[in-house]
Symmetry: C2
Subunit: 437 residues, 2 copies
């Protein structure tokens, strides 16, 4: 497969093929935080048709940098480093890397002025420490950092490339998206972002999804496929083609796959269940409230994750005790005694109570045993009843979820939103399918 | 510093010092999920006084395994691999590693029987694929996997050690905790878990915390210190000593640090703000309810994260609209008109309304502008008012939080819980400090 390139605006160099990442991360090796830089960079570069070959996390020690960074530098077209550029760290990183590459460090006046004016803007005084950040590899280009003091660096030496990025994610991510990639594309080192379409599904599972779409994808071997599961309920299917000439074929393929998936498809891109429901409600001037027990507020929190939620979402009740169900949602006490607080009857009564008390057209409820304690012989830990109140009628469903307390709560939240989404398709298909997010 | 060892029960070998990890993880390099194995292993081994020297994520390709795994194998005492053992993968991993180490693979009957009986137990038939998992490096010891079919492996060769672990976290983590570490300790390769104490703080920030405790820690250079910040509100301070003889000195040091931290200390270990408040309420037979606007259920969700929450937590109201505040919490309509829904007055009225409607002694409320839209000149996006109703009186506080919508909501949730915790210390110090979690 060949990677197509635009005519490069800089000097025509070969495209970058072998990319390695080296993190200077004592705290990563101590397990103090997840290596999210690899997740971000891996995904970002794969959108441009570039796969990371190796990712190393190493100690910020001279000997290790020379040995392990040196090995990456000798064997790849591009090495990206993260971390080790801050003002409080020693000069180890800069010096060790300079030694590997065989270039001296030089003081950069532009960086000094940029840092100085940043400090002035925030009314603070620049410290001696910050001057360390002005020493850069001779000949390096500066990658601006609007979110911090440490600038990034880009360097070419003997047909190899080095990119040094700051450690904090809020500095690294915008620098990659807004500065680095546009620069690599402009220099002709990286192809333009390849066309891709992401389909997001719910309730089908990764292996069943794979089986279902296999025949159609096997017939289009030019399409690259990747799956990504979020908490086992939501699975993304990403279709890409490296050849921009196939863009319309990709659109057709995505639309065929979407048809095949039917109700299991939530939508495209970063669409969420909550946003999808929100779009329908807003377009049809309807409102929603919730009542929840074992999820303790997570359903309401999911529905208010995005800005503008109040256009359709009225509010909710977390009725954690039986008394709260009676007082706040008018669930009849005798119903709780007869069927138990975790039952189809109570789930529907909670939804109807929320709709009436909060004055919404639609309402969604959850009651269940999240564990590890609780549960009955008939309804063991993991059993969740979902209630749904709508202008078309009221329904409930019973599901049994696997996992620990946090997992059951998370899955119950997704399951309730998906239940409502499927009921909307069942009863309001025309109006629902007209909206999207 | 020397690492003290128990008299090893196996043959006395040298302790393990240089540890490297190699992940066979195409999906990690594509950015499809975070590398949580490093976080888990790094933290777990550091509890035993062992630091990971290098972590590599590589492709599941023969050439790359031979080169990059081979480099780790030649330069460390112990190499841990993750992934590449499943039934659907090719035999690449096993064969490439066998080549590096210079040992043949042999078919292991015990593994075959274990897998077969596992399949029988679940009423399924073993497939041809699964037989691949029975080929192991000659002389390797099996690490049992109660949560999957792929067993782990332990091997000694020429004074070096290899551990191969399965890819899924739910299989890897119990295997490390319950099988691998006890085995390494029993063989005398790893010291018993070193004594450590974790102090959890809130509201002080990492750099201020570091500055505050520096004098006392400088006076005890034998103590190892590590910081870990969770979402910038909660910062853990971990004190450890490699020498078990200093265990009582460590306890004394932790107690001195705790005194110095005062109210900024939430508690020890994995204590949370919600659990800390819960312990006080249960011990004093008090109850709590909440009312929240911009956090949309996250405060209630935090208070119900742990099992048994219903002993003190009654429930909550998510009053996302003005109408909901009036209808569900009896906030006077004229008060909302006069002061706005985001105000100290409304915050207190929400808390008082929740306490009255839900029948609790205590109540906590949040109203604010989470952004990106909304806010006023006086109260820009990020402004949050917290209301607190208690038998000792009612208070509110105004804070301005930095960050995007998700961050503001998360920080507001922590801030509300911390406000209540500090008020309890202020008014109920004796009772509060008696309880702990």
């Amino acid at each position: 497969m060949t990677i197509p390139f635009d005519s490069p605006s800089g000097s025509a160099r070969g495209p970058i093929r072998e990319v390695e990442i080296v993190h200077l991360g004592d705290e990563l090796l101590l397990g103090l935080r997840d290596n999210t830089h690899l997740t971000f960079l891996g995904r970002y570069f794969s959108n441009y048709g570039i796969k990371i070959r190796r990712d190393q996390v190493i100690l910020d020690k001279h000997e290790d940098i020379v040995r392990f960074f040196g090995d990456s530098w000798r064997s790849s077209d591009l090495v990206i480093t993260t971390g080790g550029l801050g003002p409080t760290v020693d000069d180890i990183t800069r010096e060790a890397i300079a030694e590997c590459i065989g270039l001296p460090l030089e003081f950069n006046e532009t960086i000094r002025r940029t840092i100085e004016s940043r400090f002035e803007r925030f009314g603070r005084k620049m410290t001696e420490n910050n001057l360390r950040q002005c020493w850069v590899l001779k000949g390096a280009e500066i990658l601006e950092n609007p979110n911090g003091t440490a600038p990034g660096l880009f360097l070419e030496k003997d047909g190899r490339y080095l990119v040094m990025l700051p450690g904090p994610a809020r500095e690294l991510q915008p620098m990659v998206a807004e500065v680095l990639l546009p620069m690599l594309v402009a220099k002709g080192l990286v192809a333009k972002q390849k066309p891709y379409i992401q389909l997001r599904t719910c309730g089908i599972g990764e292996s069943m999804l794979e089986t279902k779409v296999k025949p159609i994808l096997d017939a289009h071997p030019w399409a690259e496929v990747a799956y990504c599961a979020h908490s086992s309920m939501i699975v993304d299917l990403r279709l890409a083609c490296l050849d921009p000439a196939r863009e319309s074929a990709l659109n057709q393929l995505a639309s065929d796959v979407a048809k095949l998936l039917g109700e299991d498809l939530i939508g495209y891109g970063e669409c969420t269940l909550a946003k999808r429901i929100h779009q329908y409600l807003v377009a049809n001037e309807q409102t929603l409230s919730v009542a929840e027990s074992c999820t303790g507020g997570m359903l309401a929190a999911a529905l208010t994750e995005h800005s503008g939620a109040s256009k359709a979402f009225v509010g909710g009740v977390v009725s954690y005790t039986n008394e709260a169900k009676v007082q706040m949602l008018d669930v009849p006490e005798c119903m709780i005694q007869q069927h138990g607080p975790v039952s189809a009857e109570v789930a529907i009564a909670m939804a109807t109570g929320a709709a009436e008390r909060l004055g919404s057209n639609y309402a969604l409820s959850i009651t269940g045993f999240a564990g590890p304690d609780g549960g009955t012989e008939k309804d063991p830990v993991g059993t969740v009843y979902i209630g749904y109140h709508s202008p078309s009628g009221a329904w409930s469903t019973r599901i049994v979820l696997m996992g620990d307390r946090a997992t059951v709560r998370q899955r119950a939240t997704f399951a309730a939103l998906d239940f409502m989404r499927r009921k909307l398709i069942e009863h309001k298909a025309d109006d629902f399918l007209k909206t999207c997010c």
